[in-house]
Amino acid sequence: MRALTTKVLWLGALLVALAFPLLSDNPYFLTVVISGFITAIAVYGLNVLVGETGQLSLAHAGFFGIGAYTAGILMVRFDLSFWLALPAAVAVTAGLGFLVGMVALRTKGDYFAIFTLAVGVMITAIIDLWEEVTGGTDGLIGVPPPTSIGPIDFTSLFSQYYLYLFCLVLTILAVRNLSRSLVGRTFLAIRNDEHLAQAIGINVGRTKRLSFTISTSLAGFAGALYAPFLGYLGPSVSGLIMMFNMLLYLMIGGAASLAGPLLGTLLLMTATQGLLAFEEYQLLILGPLLVLSIIFAPTGIAGVAEKLRLRLADRPPPPEAPPPPTSERLENPDRPHAAPHAEAGN
């Protein structure tokens, strides 16, 4: 029943997404939504590490920048096709992510956040200073759109929309499979209690490195999609504001949920487009919004929706179980592994 409703909602969202460019050919709207898709992919990556594994990394935008610049540089300076630059950029961010993770994950908690913050700042500084390769503050100009595959041409916004939507759907399917799997469950076990995780035989160090590498790979993937979409890159793609925005989208959408990263990213990115006129005040509004969200809805939109759903579902108590728990524990976000047992239970 519940698994079914979730499926229907996702299919509905997919249909709306597929129909969107047919309903509105306003290039501005399309641009905003495509940026949302690409950013959401990166936020899904952030969710694996921050939401599911409980490791607050502030280097995520840095890896997004590495992906974007690797793809951009390969395409501009080496005339590589997008279809080769994309996997190359993912491989580079995965490799660098693994190396950074090896060192950064020796720290824990606040120290990990501070360490990764420094890594993020260093990445931006390198992009900024390595002018002959990255173009420095002038940026990397003239990244071509993805080369066409046979008859499919990606020069129009319309066809690009479907390419990026496809990448987003692929990402969502992958992270869904991951978070439901035993691998995803080991991430949650670590977030819940590292000592307990070790005591039940989980190699915590290795699992965290895996989560970190998956997370940076998705950031790199999103970055590599971003470069040809925008056509130019500046050091700010990996900057602190980008990092802040990604965290904001994740927290407001709902960490450790499947819908949260998408909801948070799309809602806030469209909302902030309205605030574009006063861009310098954006943070003035978004900062307090994050604070309020953490205080009043720490599980984000997805968590609140799940709470409402549980409340509605709780009215007729299930036959086998004693009165369903109504403790505030249930306010916690929809656990990815809640779905399988719902299937098994019915």
Partner: protein, 254 residues
């Protein structure tokens, strides 16, 4: 001997929390470690399962040295443990909490997970079945689909024991299994521990509830200030002057 420590010790900045302790756990028995607060009981457990690296001495398990092995490796060798506070994930169901305990016996890797291969699905199912069996063993099967946060303290303890049992360890270390539960529930937990031993799993526990310790233990080791001051059958321990002094000297005890 299933487990043997020799001159096992650790000091934290000069304080000898565990000091040259020799003790043994015979297969198929219940061994209790008792002692006043701060005697080093939990630290001893942390040395056995690899949370702390000993400053001196050795630990042998099934005849092989495991001194200083990482905790997850110790767990994979067959030593599992529970904690004083259960540390379960309150927002997840009992089943979801327990099934991850079997992860160490599975081999699903990233690509299996991403592609949801036959192996990933088969192993998930296996974990689920094992978890249900473990929950049934501890009499918590009816609570399998309830969130752990909504269970009683005693039920949570059972779920934590199921989690420690799901991967079928050879030795189970229980850190104060009866802390915070009432007398009737303590009896039920004692019965459960007996059942664990009958299932072929050796038990070593730290516990303050003396009636429980005396009734279920085959052998008792008494620690005081990190040192072993006595060892023997329950009746011997109750009559041991050094033990009585250690307890009366620190605080009165039921």
């Amino acid at each position: 001997m299933l487990l043997r420590t020799q001159k096992l010790g650790i000091d934290f900045g000069g304080l000898k929390a565990v000091d040259a302790v020799d003790f043994e756990v015979a297969a198929g028995t219940v061994t209790a470690i008792i002692g006043p607060n701060g005697a080093g009981k939990s630290t001893l457990f942390n040395l056995l399962n690899g949370f702390h690296r000993p400053s001196s001495g050795t630990v042998h398990f099934e005849g092989e040295e495991i001194t200083g092995l990482a905790p997850h490796r110790v767990a994979r060798r067959g030593i599992s443990r529970t904690f004083q506070n259960t540390r379960l994930f309150p927002a997840a169901t009992a089943l979801d909490n327990v099934l991850i305990g079997y992860r160490m016996r599975t081999s699903t890797h990233l690509w299996d997970a991403l592609l949801r291969t036959a192996r990933a699905r088969r192993e998930e199912e296996e974990c689920r079945e094992r978890a249900m069996r473990a929950l049934a063993f501890v009499d918590a099967a009816p609570m399998a689909h309830q969130h752990v946060g909504s269970l009683t303290q005693e039920a949570q303890k059972r779920v934590a024991i199921a989690l420690a049992l799901v991967a079928e360890p050879k030795l189970l270390l229980l850190d104060e299994p009866a802390a915070g539960v009432n007398a009737g529930e303590t009896t039920a937990l004692s019965e459960l521990i007996r059942r664990v031993v009958e299932a072929g799993i050796t038990v070593c526990l730290v516990e303050h509830k003396m009636r429980m310790v005396m009734s279920i233990s085959d052998r008792i080791v008494v620690l005081h200030h990190g040192q072993k001051i006595a060892e023997g059958a329950p009746a011997e321990i109750q009559a041991d002057p050094a033990v009585i002094e250690a307890y009366l000297g620190s605080r009165s005890h039921a």
